[in-house]
Amino acid sequence: MKKIFYKEWGIDSPKYWLILAVLAAIAGVGGLAAFYMEHNGHWVTGMNNQIVWGMPHVFAVFLIVAASGALNVASIGSVFNKKIYKPLAPLSGLLAIALLIGGLLVLVLDLGRPERLIVAMTTYNFKSIFAWNIILYNGFIAIVAIYLWTIMDRKVNRYYKTAGMAAFIWRLILTMGTGSIFGFLVARQGYDAAIMAPWFIIMSFGFGMAIYILVLMDAFRRDQRPLGDAVMQRLKNLLGIFVAANLFFMVIYHLTNLYGTENHAFEAFILLEGGIYTVMFWVGQVLVGGLLPLAILFHPALGMQRSWLSAASLMVILGGLATMYVIIIGGQAFPMSLFPDKTIIDTGFYDGVGGAIAAYTPSLPEVLLGIGGVSVALIITVIGMRMLKILPVSLEDKIADPHSAA
């Protein structure tokens, strides 16, 4: 393996500024949407007292989970010492920070009182996993920044293994914390499961890798840098394994729920009778997010083609959003089991008359805010790649592959 050189992203200046302008416009619209929601109050959204977390949270949790997974590539290089991943590490770190900031921005701007963020950052109830997450998320940004520094600065390069290990452990705790947001809730049948924490970790691997692959391929293509199969095949195989693992955890979750009679109604809701939630589950989570990418990635011919790899990555991302929708919104839509073996026939507060699920229609401000967060993440990535020596000059096989003959 030859020495790897890194260079700033070299696309033409007008193209760069155009990309930034488009992303900034989208982010700006997201910001306006957030202001609109905050100024008028949340009545302008589709969220209500039954579905309290909606599209912003779908996007935010997805971005945060993906952020942790995006660091995977760097971890495999630093913690597990796989040489071929080492040149991929700086982009991995940058993407992790960018996605996390994008996700946090969406989460924070959706708060009922976003001006009280400083209260949230100085007053803690340490029994709350949310409070721990505030520390974990901010710490993640700091630790990954330090990790990037140790990778990129020769003077502190000797600390990169320690920083890499610290980032790896921190990221696992962070994703466990994110999964536990739902896993710790006893109130709802869709949550209250210990598997949420490790499942979110596995999900993060897939989402992060898919985004990483897309960003890497696009950045290299635009700057006409060579990207060899040695690297891409490995990333492809990893993505496939992560998607398979995600399906495995999903199966365990549902099978366990299906075993106990207590949860039969909830499973029937997700798997059969939930309308949009059932469609999102089977088509979004299972098919588009799981089976189809798996088939493509391990297909002997299709798996070799870059365009199919891009398509599979995009599917994993869309499937990930669908998964979040089913978990977050589906989990809230299912009526709470206040009176087991009784049916509610009338209520003043939408408790699920006759087992009816709570209604939720995503509203435009919510979706715009979510997309704005994605934009912010991309802005940070684009600026980072342009200003810093993040991207290797070349990842062609004879340079990147440690086993190549040349």
Partner: protein, 136 residues
Amino acid sequence: MSYRIKLKGLALVVLAMVMSIASVSQAGPNWRETTNSKAAESARSGGQCVRETQWMRNNHMVLLKKDRDFTVHEGIRTVDGSLSECVACHSNTENGKHVPVNAMEGPDGKQFCASCHAFTGVKLNCFQCHAAVPTE
């Protein structure tokens, strides 16, 4: 679980900001001379209610912040910093109706809170929840 953990440094910074800003500001043009709130009448005859005036100008936010915890967490309602009592005293009446104590317009211009807070540019959000007129 009892009280939340607080950063003392932040409280000190807030206090320093309040003191530095409030010490520069004035309580609006002659509100003592001309308005008809109970507090103005008391001030004209040389009285004070909760604390002496300059102390209040510097530290009313600290008082409010401590007292709100006494009221919410400990249920103490007699604390003399109770916001509804402030409002009852400091709001002017116009044509028999009370004017909101944070209004930008009213008898003699900006009302009690706005007369300083508009100048200092410190946004009040107390009255997003608390009534700005006394209950009668």
